[in-house]
Amino acid sequence: MLRVEGVSAGYGSFQALFDVALAVEAGEAVAVIGPNGAGKTSLLRVVSKLIEPRTGTIDFDGHDLAGLGADEVTALGMAHVPEHRRLFAGLTVEENLRMGAFLPAARKQFSTRLEHVYELFPRLAERRDQIAGTLSGGEQQMCAIGRGLMSGPKLLLLDEPSAGLAPVIVQQVFDMVQRIRSEGFTVLIVEQNIQQVLRVVDRAYLLEVGRIKASGAASELLASDDIRRAYIGL
């Protein structure tokens, strides 16, 4: 479904990604793990075309993404739930979800999808009229994921959904990811919380200073001594 090949990208004179290759098949959940500053967020931004790659190709669902803008990529069926959630803080929960269905094709399905999101996250239904900026961190993450689902994506990109949340809430966030998986969504997730994320995905890539250093089944990586020592500290 997603095929990234030879992608390099950066900001100004700074290069964040070097010759990255990665693939996600339909129905899979794949994680990109790595320490702070490894380029994980840049990788997602380049995939959803929030930034242009310098070299390399990105193919999504049979479309070459070269030259497309972020809005056009969304229209092709990719939803990016950005780092730090980036809710429209002044709007209510339901208005945020409405924004998620901004595209004309999604607007038509607004009410069915809304119902579905509320089913998936009943807490959002309770808080539908609350200003999004006043939600708790976990609820905001829920709202951000819900907003992503409203466009009816084939592929959902999640950027550090556990960042900045209390440990108890982090657990809930991974439960949410699990629930989304079981709904059949294809998910590409970026995380620092390696131990947790490897329990909910099929495969993972290890990114270090802009380069893919290892990849494999989640269970293998979880068992790998190198990764345990370097990142989990066990």
Binding site: L50, T74, L91, M99, F102, I131, G148
Partner: protein, 331 residues
Amino acid sequence: MGRLANLIGLVALLAVPMLGVSDYVLHLGITILIWGFVYTAWSLMGRFGLVSLGHGAFLGIGAYTVTMLWNHAGISPWLGIPVAVALAVLVAVLIGYPCFRFRITGHYFALVTLALGEIVLMLIVALRDWTGGSLGVTPASALSADVSFSLVALQVSSKGVFFYVAVGLWLLGLWVWKRVDSSMARYALEAANEQEDAAASVGVDVTRTKLTITVLSAALTALGGIAYGQYQLYINPETVSGIAKSLEIVFAVIAGGMYVRLGPTFGAAFTLLLAEGLRVAFGHDVHGLDGTIYGLMLVIFIIFMPEGILGRLARLWETRRAPTSPRTASA
């Protein structure tokens, strides 16, 4: 209440010239309506965080293009207006596109636009052989003792007639505001204003959305400049371009309230009556007094009433009507 009150208000407004009020009152009315229209045009983008400090440029482009074409080439304003508006749109795109494409937002966007009004002013002054420089220029008059109205020159000596033109223009501004408000573009603009990345990731073409509202705002502002020129039959670079004029727009809108539809118009009435009041009370004896008072009030408004006078009133009204509502007045 809404629709009926609007209708009554409009009928009352349209009746004003028939009540035999003095030319001075009519003049105040026309001026408030024209500037109310311009301020409304500014707020179309200003309320979405696209604060332009250079809208004087569009006023100047509008007023001077039409007058120059009429004076030097004999081209009727009927043709001059579309040319002037097109020119304003072109300038808006030249400034707006790179800003939005490269995500120059907030203060940075305001600073980019700051120079714009001044550049147009300097251009007008530099081209003094055509434009009359800082002395200003009068559109070649098609009016005389016998002729009180010229359709070709779009000149009219009766203030009563021009009052209706101004009302029409002002209603156009309010109508555009309402159209924007009830469209998806409003959501897109609010989203782009709050979280540009998130807006793009739900499918908003941020650059195009911002550019559209900027172009719309610039075009209407140019129309306002044209109307002002055709009404006063005298324009001068200081009154239709430059930083001072551009900032005057911003001040009036902040005072009136840019998040409610009538806020900019209220701001126009408020600043104009304030200036007139000061002029009547102190004459021109105390030089710079109005500027000082404006500055002082601007500080007070920004600190204590950032939503403007009308915005504050609207909010008080809302909370009084629905004290338990979790949300306060939106737009």
